[in-house]
């Protein structure tokens, strides 16, 4: 038996299985899938929120867009009228529902993003060929924070003014460009109507930027999950509406003198605004330190462990018939079909071409090819077939089965 097990010998999890971080990720994955399988037993796998962790933030984002459009009909972005317009909104039918669902959808979106981030990290799906989704995902998290914080600046109560003053204070602490940044937040030297308009601008701009980065986030994923199943969607909408009905979102005391820095205000939302608690209790340095630590740490996370890429798919040019099956089946859009001249058929044809940075070395394209025209570079299929032939049980047929 000369055949060695050819599979996976050169892969890093075999080369360095004792790497402690790799071992940690591996056992963490095992715990995570164990939890998910338990959830599968409670609800079916089709309703398992862990399997729709990526679709959940997108779904909640659509709820935010819908309720935000509702708010735009009533909201007035001026210093005095912002508070009043929200008081008026509470008297409109479903006005409180629109506002409260906007507020709690924002919380749900951040929670869903953290679930998504955690799940992607803990199951080791954040590295290598997934680097672009991870990095754009960190930007998306930052943009979600910008949208949330600027949203709280729009309410027109004591807290909004506190947040604006504290942001100005934080930006002024930045060396060199601090005053410029602070004046960009204020849209002028002082708090005016333009400040509220600027906050609304940042609020909407970050929402639009979320769309742009979401596109980059999903660009290489061939069939992204963007929609949750009806069960999960109904549960999410139901929970948000229920919370919104039980604890409707409200404003704190309206501000009397916007120029005056409020001595103390309630943070109220510990999902979006813990940075401001840090800012008031420990100063701007601690705030920026925490921001850099959080987002810088998230950006560096995939670089802690690198794999050697040896198994990227290759197309055997003479065998490829241009049927597109591998390009359709590739989960990461790593295969494109390019026009080529087919020498055998003497006519133009298509040829599959692998774009290596997107290749996950999974071999799904090999399974989809009926012509053995695509191979993993260090795991060709023919030796596997030879091994199957060689190791097959050698039995002779009994006499009665062989004849007739």
């Amino acid at each position: 038996m000369s055949a060695q097990p050819i599979e996976a010998v050169e892969r890093d999890d075999v080369l360095q299985p004792r790497h402690p971080y790799r071992r940690f990720l591996r056992s963490a994955t095992r715990w995570q899938v164990a939890v998910e399988r338990k959830v599968n037993e409670l609800v079916s796998y089709e309703q398992n929120p862990f399997y729709f962790h990526g679709a959940l933030p997108t779904f909640v984002f659509w709820m935010l867009i819908a309720s935000g459009i509702g708010l735009l009909f009533y909201y007035k972005a001026t210093l005095t009228e912002s508070y009043e317009s929200l008081v008026y909104l509470a008297k409109v039918p479903f006005g409180n529902c629109i506002r409260s669902s906007h507020r709690y959808s924002a919380d749900a979106m951040l929670l869903a993003i953290y679930l998504h981030t955690f799940r992607v990290y803990i199951t080791d799906r954040h590295r290598e060929y997934r680097i672009v989704p991870w990095l754009t995902g960190v930007v998306l998290l930052l943009l979600t924070y910008v949208a949330g914080i600027s949203g709280y600046m729009l309410v027109g109560d004591q807290r909004s003014w506190g947040l604006i003053h504290q942001s100005v204070q934080a930006f002024q602490a930045v060396p060199l460009v601090g005053d410029f940044l602070a004046s960009q937040v204020l849209a002028g030297p002082d708090i005016t109507d333009y400040t509220v308009a600027r906050a609304l601008f940042f609020h909407l701009l970050s929402a639009m930027a979320i769309f742009w980065f979401l596109w980059m986030h999903l660009l290489r994923i061939r069939r992204p999950f963007m929609i949750v199943t009806i069960g999960i969607g109904a549960a999410v909408v139901g929970v948000i509406l229920m919370v919104a009905g039980l604890w409707p979102a409200g404003s704190y005391t309206p501000v009397v003198e916007p120029m005056h820095v409020p001595e103390a205000y309630e943070i109220g939302n510990w999902l979006y605004l813990p940075g401001f608690w840090l800012l008031s209790s420990a100063g701007p340095l601690a705030f920026w330190g925490a921001v850099v630590l959080l987002f810088g740490g998230l950006l560096m996370l995939p670089y802690l462990l690198r794999d050697t890429r040896r198994n990227i798919a290759m197309v055997v040019r003479d065998k490829c018939v241009g049927c597109q099956l591998c390009a359709i089946d590739c989960p990461y859009s790593a295969i494109t079909m390019v026009p080529t001249w087919n020498e055998r058929k003497k006519k133009p044809d298509l040829l599959a071409v692998v774009y290596p940075p997107r290749c996950s070395e999974c071999g799904v394209c090999i399974g989809s090819c009926d012509f053995d025209a695509i191979e993993l570079s260090s795991m060709p299929y023919r030796p596997i077939e030879d091994l199957v032939k060689e190791l097959a049980p050698k039995r002779e047929a009994p006499a009665e089965a062989a004849g007739d």
Partner: protein, 158 residues
């Protein structure tokens, strides 16, 4: 056909029939490297030879067909739990190909008695082993897979 296709031996084997099983296993599903010995066979069931793949999506139905043609008594295809795949869609495609709904195995059929598809997560070594055991028990109720004969008295093409 009148003449026997292979040399025949009159004496049947005295030992009880042990079905030889080829397991085509996704590395990301069951923790296979903890279950196999250095000879690439399951420690609990040494009649099961394990071939590892990076993803169940790489497993061609034609490979399972080849194994059956070559005389393996059964083929196990093991992938991640349905709904979850490390590479997003590998186990989905493998499942559809083996069940006969997706190219390149859209219209072909193989011996459904001898091929078993298992979808097990990385935490489920125990259920996997018990399913392997029950599959081997099931294969023991079938006659040995004879390489030269396709069950209808015709010689195989290979």
């Amino acid at each position: 056909m009148s003449e026997p296709t292979v040399a025949t031996t009159a004496t049947p084997p005295a030992a009880p029939f042990v079905p030889q099983v080829l397991a085509l296993v996704c590395e990301r599903s069951v923790p296979i490297d903890e279950l196999i010995g250095p000879d690439q066979r399951l420690r609990d069931a040494p009649q099961v030879y394990v071939l590892r793949f990076p993803c169940s999506g790489m497993i061609k139905p034609s490979l399972a067909q080849l194994a059956l043609d070559e005389g393996w008594d059964g083929v196990l295809v093991v992938g991640c739990a349905v709904g979850d795949c490390h590479f997003r869609e590998g186990n989905l495609w493998a499942r559809e190909r083996f069940l006969g709904g997706r190219a390149p195995n859209k219209f072909r059929r193989m011996d459904q008695q001898r091929v078993s598809l298992l979808w097990r997560a990385a935490s489920e070594a125990g259920p996997f082993l018990s399913e392997v055991g029950s599959f081997c028990d099931h294969l023991r109720t079938l006659p040995p897979n004879l390489r030269s004969d396709d069950g209808k008295g015709r010689k195989r093409k290979r």
